[in-house]
């Protein structure tokens, strides 16, 4: 299906700029955390780590793995080789949306560290997941595919 009616060639990312997006995002994480916390066998520390891992997994899949757009944009397939993160604000770096999405896993990581009382095994797992989702967000890695991963 073609997109139309709003003038943007690729409206795949404009919704990230919409009003209330940041609040919804934070509420989403909170709800996710509360759901996990309500599982009886999980300790608080475990719940935080699981929240963090699920959050980072979502970032990895939706922002850094899936490419293109769910419809046919009018850009003759320009975005077919771009991940969702790379499509945000047409590739402009350090925009508000990008800063927010960059800050989210870091803040979540710090909170997790705090609530796991800096337990070393939790720390290592969370740090690895953090590195995996923050490194591809760096502007130096825009359109760069390390070792050709996910290149085509």
């Amino acid at each position: 299906m073609h997109v139309g009616g709003h003038g943007g060639a690729n409206p795949n990312t404009t919704w990230l700029k919409s009003r209330g997006m940041w609040l919804s995002y934070i509420l989403g994480i909170l709800v996710l955390h509360l759901i996990i916390l309500s599982v009886p066998i999980l300790s608080v520390a475990m719940a935080w780590t699981v929240t963090n891992l699920i959050h980072n997994l979502c970032h990895l899949i939706f922002l850094h793995s899936l490419k293109g757009a769910p419809w046919i944009p009018q850009d003759q397939g320009d975005c077919r080789s771009l991940t969702h993160w790379e499509q945000i604000d047409d590739g402009t770096q350090f925009t508000k949306t990008r800063k927010f999405l960059f800050a989210a896993p870091i803040v979540l990581f710090l909170l997790t560290c705090f609530y796991t009382k800096n337990d070393t095994s939790h720390f290592i797992v969370n740090l690895i997941s953090l590195v995996i989702v923050t490194v591809p967000k760096l502007p130096q890695l825009h359109r760069v595919r390390i070792f050709g991963i996910n290149k085509y």
């Binding site: 299906m1 073609h2 139309g4 009886p40 300790s43 608080v44 520390a45 046919i72 003759q76 397939g77 320009d78 077919r80 080789s81 047409d90 590739g91 402009t92 770096q93 350090f94 925009t95 990008r98 800063k99 960059f102 800050a103 870091i106 803040v107 990581f109 710090l110 560290c113 609530y115 009382k117 800096n118 070393t120 720390f123 740090l127 953090l130 502007p139 825009h142 359109r143 290149k151 085509y152």
Partner: protein, 476 residues
């Protein structure tokens, strides 16, 4: 179940964190610092970032030569002496007040001035008015559009058809609707200008093969295949297309369709066949080049046709499977964003189509006339003209055997021959191209179109006139 841990006092908090190692804190400190750095950076566009140095700026400014808004025109420019056509461009045509036999406009089956077709168009005006008021998806669909689409699909024996408002934009929209930036298109180098514009708009990688040369196409495809073996992951997301014309408008030749389809099948290419000239002229019942070669029409993925040449109306159409054609209703830019074909022209096209269906004898007559013209013009070789084009093609090109070296002089000579013919009552024009925009150069030629109403006497007279022109311009 453990309780939620919250520090109750500063001492408690410090007590807890002292247990963690120093390394954790250093890492966390780095993260916070990195985050602050990230948040306070100014935004910039990652691409198109280049600033010019002062010298570069000066250089660019000094290189710029202002051009006048209106350049001075040479006094002998053809645009200063335009050919004015009055009345209908039927079998005969009035050029600058001179009545001429029409061998210049595409009106193969003489539907342009057929009374039945005209009547249907007039009837349609009485019912619908002149315009359709909007694009197909936006109040522009009238029942005659749906009727014509159904008729075309049935006529071609395909699942579905979609009608465009303009012949040129049909193929120019159909190609970019399917082929995108990361795809590859194999295409004949003599394809018409509309196809070339479609190729440009697709942003795909374009591979031109030599005109009607199956061997050359195979070579290109094998080349691509070896590339694909080296990089299978890229090849997996690269769609391949083959774009060909039934009868090439620019040469009059018929494409070797069975061989091309076999190659397309072997290398898994999607085929787009432009039948703008061959629709309504080739095959026993006018179903185009697929009928001419008797190949299964479903082997071609998309057939694009024009209603402007054989049908004597305006517009174009695509036929194929519903799955393929339906895609254009939301992705064909010419379909989505142009006002739909005026109902009167739709009705006219429908009347012509019915005429072809009812009277297949028209096609045999046309093919006879094509043969007649072909034979008459082939005999001109001793008078300095060489003919190109298939015997059954209604479009033929006459080339000069000994043309002037200079391209400009070559074109002028053809223009003068054309003027001479028009003065003597036969409208023949040179094929005109936007040379600076064409992908491959075309040899200048006189383009002759065949009309079903031509009589042997008229063909004879034309041949005589060209012989006279030959001695007039000392061509042989």
């Amino acid at each position: 179940m453990s309780s939620y841990w919250l520090p109750t006092s500063i001492d408690g908090f410090l007590g807890e964190i002292k247990e963690a190692s120093l390394l954790h804190f250093i890492l966390e400190g780095f993260l916070v610092a990195g985050l602050i750095w990230f948040i306070f950076r100014k935004s910039y566009k990652s691409h198109n970032v280049h600033s010019l140095s002062k010298e570069e700026e000066e250089k660019i400014i000094s290189e710029w030569i202002p051009e006048p808004l209106v350049a001075s025109t040479p006094l002998d420019h053809p645009a200063l002496k335009p050919l004015v056509v009055t009345g209908k461009a039927g079998h005969y045509i009035d050029v600058n007040g001179q009545r001429c036999l029409n061998l210049a406009t595409h009106n193969y089956l003489s539907f342009v001035d057929k009374p039945q077709v005209e009547e249907r168009a007039i009837e349609s005006i009485r019912k619908y008015g002149v315009g359709s008021c909007g694009p197909r998806g936006f109040y522009g669909t009238v029942d005659v559009h749906l009727e014509l689409e159904e008729k075309l699909a049935k006529f071609m024996g395909m699942e579905e058809a979609c009608v465009y408002a303009y012949g040129f934009s049909t193929v120019a929209s159909a190609i970019p609707a399917y082929a995108k930036r990361s795809d590859i298109i194999f295409v004949d180098e003599q394809v018409n200008f509309a196809i070339q514009k479609g190729l440009d708009a697709s942003r795909s990688r374009i591979c031109y093969f030599k005109h009607n040369d199956v061997k050359d196409l195979e070579r290109l495809m094998l080349e691509f295949e070896s590339e694909a073996i080296k990089n299978p992951r890229k090849a997996k997301v690269t769609r391949r297309f083959l774009v060909i014309e039934g009868i090439y408008m620019n040469t009059g030749n018929i494409c070797p369709l069975p061989a091309l389809l076999e190659l397309a099948h072997r290398f898994k290419c999607r085929t787009i066949l432009d039948e703008n000239v061959s629709f309504g002229t080739l095959g026993e019942t006018g179903r185009g080049v697929t009928e001419f070669y008797n190949v299964n029409r479903e082997d071609v993925d998309l057939i694009v046709g024009s209603m402007e040449w054989a049908l004597g109306s305006i517009g174009g159409f695509c036929v194929g499977s519903s799955f393929i054609v339906e895609h254009q209703r939301l992705s064909g830019l010419g379909y989505c964003f142009s006002a739909s074909l005026p109902p009167l022209l739709t009705a006219a096209a429908m009347a012509s189509l019915e005429e072809i269906e009812k009277n297949p004898g028209l096609l045999t007559a046309l093919q006879e006339k094509c043969k007649l013209v072909h034979e008459a013009l082939t005999n001109l070789s001793e008078f300095g003209f060489s003919l190109s084009g298939h015997v059954k093609s209604p479009v033929k090109h006459l080339y000069l055997i000994n043309p002037p070296e200079d391209m400009e002089k070559h074109r002028c000579l053809l223009h003068d021959i054309s003027q001479y013919c028009i003065k003597n009552g036969v409208a023949i024009v040179p094929a005109s191209y936007l040379d600076h925009m064409e992908a491959h150069p075309h040899v200048p030629s006189l383009r002759i179109t065949v009309n079903v109403d031509l009589t042997p006497g008229e063909v004879e007279a034309t041949s005589k006139l060209l012989q006279k022109a030959s001695s007039e311009f000392s061509l042989s």
